[in-house]
Amino acid sequence: MSDNGPVQIRCPVLNVRRVDAYYAITVVAPGIAERFRSGQFVTVGVGGDHSSTLLRRPFAVHDVKPDYGGTVEFLFSVRGTGTAWLSERRSRDLLDVVGPLGRPFPLPRDPVNCVLVGGGSGGAPLFPLAQSLRRRGCRVDFVLGGASADRVFSALSARRIAETAAFTTDDGSFGTRGRVTDVLGRVIEEARSDAVYACGPMEMLRAVTAVAGSRGVPVQVAVEETMACGTGICMTCVVPVVGGDGITRMARACVDGPVFRGEQVRFDDVGTIPFDALGAPGWKGSSAARAAESARDIA
């Protein structure tokens, strides 16, 4: 057992709040709080011990505070049975939480200009990231989008933390009517951004990567794939990702991600096995590639 890996704890709920269209749950979880780095997520057991819904639900960590030895907050919208159950939790209920999981956002060494792009609840992990970046002296700009005003995530905090904050909604009820990518180019130019960080639906990540790529700005994306385990053992959460060696692998979003470099994710091939992926029908195994593989570490 290693010491800085994730931990599994039954943690008391500190509080459950409504925030616009979302619920925010804060749990007391010192072990997770102290290990957390922004971009990482937690998974939560839902439904109790005799629930028919077996699988844990993954949520990005939105905030970590030192209170009570360390608290962790995540936000969610009610989608199905698991999130409906979570929304009914009350203070002092116990939740079974595993975390922190996944690779965090890589942070720049230097105080560069960063624009953080979030879609819907995908805004969540960008807030601890913004704080880390600010601590390193980075300039932070926000672009947050959503279907409607109540789905644009934490507009107030964004304004508070960031140099500038732009908002978009599909229905025009708040900020610019349209998509985050409709304003991203302008923000990158005005803020002279050196790096983009994005989290949200796959379609949005693809578009953000394209906008940033066309301006030569590197992008880090955090993906949300369906996950059965979150710990790297089930192989259900895969995304086609090109490695530094040029080989495409079916990478596990939970341990190889959720953060990837945008240009390495083969967005067009998500939901398929690209013909040339390692071990796909079109892949020609070379002993060199296999040797490279065996040298790679798994987590």
């Binding site: 599994q8 053992i233 089930c234 192989m235 259900t236 065996s294 798994i298």
Partner: protein
């Protein structure tokens, strides 16, 4: 405190394991990820993801769907190939003090033999498990080796002949085959030292929003507590038919009581599969609960439980 707990040791073919709780193939990688949650050397053994000869990219996503008390999955045995496993993952597991049951999956009878040879040449493997739920290239699409007792026997025979003596060969069976007991007998006659059962059961879920099957490819494998009664029934029937053959029982194990249930049905060891997804500490917890259950009942030797539910009145 000097208190002597129950004797948990069990024998699988010629090999002794310190206790009967192992991982199920494909539900624990090669042990490294779970070792972050409990000491991987503390459980009976790690059964690895099924290894193929070549790297394999597996099936497209979506690869899983949740179902009542279960899940459907279709990973298509994605993996780096057996050599990478033997060079990278196996040494790690052994260095941690863990035991490895290496699962192999061939695309043909001959490939199973080659896999067995390579695994058998590696140091420190505890047993080879033969995943018979692999597509048989000689049969109609969708048919596995396990669907044909003859073909399954051919695979087991080849694996046995390529595996050094003393290293047990376990045949992994499925529940949804034409005749499970006949399959079990064929595998034992072909040289299997033990049997593992059950693999996932073919099933489907349809996403009623998109009106498409919820996992890519349509059919997936159902696992989890939902299938436990099927699995217990299979272990019971096979133990009745070949009582001398050790069985690794699995299918929806969630608690120490479930281990008792499988052992009473006839299993010598019990594997935790899907439950490790929802509870990464599950193997250690299940072993602890099982030990406590033995103590509470005053059972001194875990091995004494094997087949306890058989006898008059329980016949089927």
């Amino acid at each position: 405190m000097g208190r002597v707990g129950p004797d948990l040791r069990i024998r699988l073919g010629g090999v002794e394991l310190p206790n009967p709780v192992v991982t199920a193939a494909g539900c624990a990688g090669a042990g490294r990820e779970l070792d972050r949650f409990f000491d991987i050397a503390s459980i009976g053994a790690v059964t690895t993801k099924s290894m193929m000869l070549e790297p394999n990219a597996g099936r497209p996503a979506p690869r899983m769907a949740e179902t009542p008390s279960g899940m459907l999955s279709t990973t298509g045995m994605q993996g780096p190939g057996v050599d990478v496993f033997l060079q990278r993952d196996l040494p790690w597991l052994l260095s941690r003090g863990g035991r490895a049951i290496v699962s192999v999956a061939g695309t043909g009878v001959g490939e199973f033999g080659e896999l067995a040879r390579r695994v058998s040449d590696a140091e420190g493997v505890s047993a080879v498990e033969v995943n018979l739920s692999c597509p048989d290239p000689g049969a109609p699409a969708g048919r596995h080796f396990a669907d044909d007792s003859e073909r399954a026997a051919a695979v087991v025979r080849t694996v046995r002949s390529h595996t050094r003596s003393g290293l047990p060969v376990l045949a992994k069976l499925a529940a949804d085959v034409p005749d499970l007991v006949a399959l079990a007998r064929s595998c034992v006659e072909a040289g299997a030292d033990g049997l593992s059962m059950i693999n996932t059961v073919r099933g489907m879920a349809i996403d009623t929003r998109s009106m498409r099957p919820a996992v890519a490819g349509g059919l997936g494998g159902l696992s989890g507590p939902a299938i436990r009664p099927l699995a217990v029934g299979c272990v019971y029937r096979v133990h009745e038919a070949v009582p001398e053959v050790p069985i690794i029982g699995m299918g929806g194990v969630r608690t120490g009581e479930d281990v008792m249930e499988f052992m009473a049905a006839g299993a010598t060891a019990v594997a935790v599969g899907t439950t490790s997804f929802s509870d990464p500490s599950a193997c250690a917890r299940v072993l602890r609960q099982f030990t406590e259950a033995l103590e509470a009942r005053g059972v001194g030797r875990a091995a004494d439980l094997v087949g306890a539910a058989h006898g008059s009145g329980a016949g089927v």
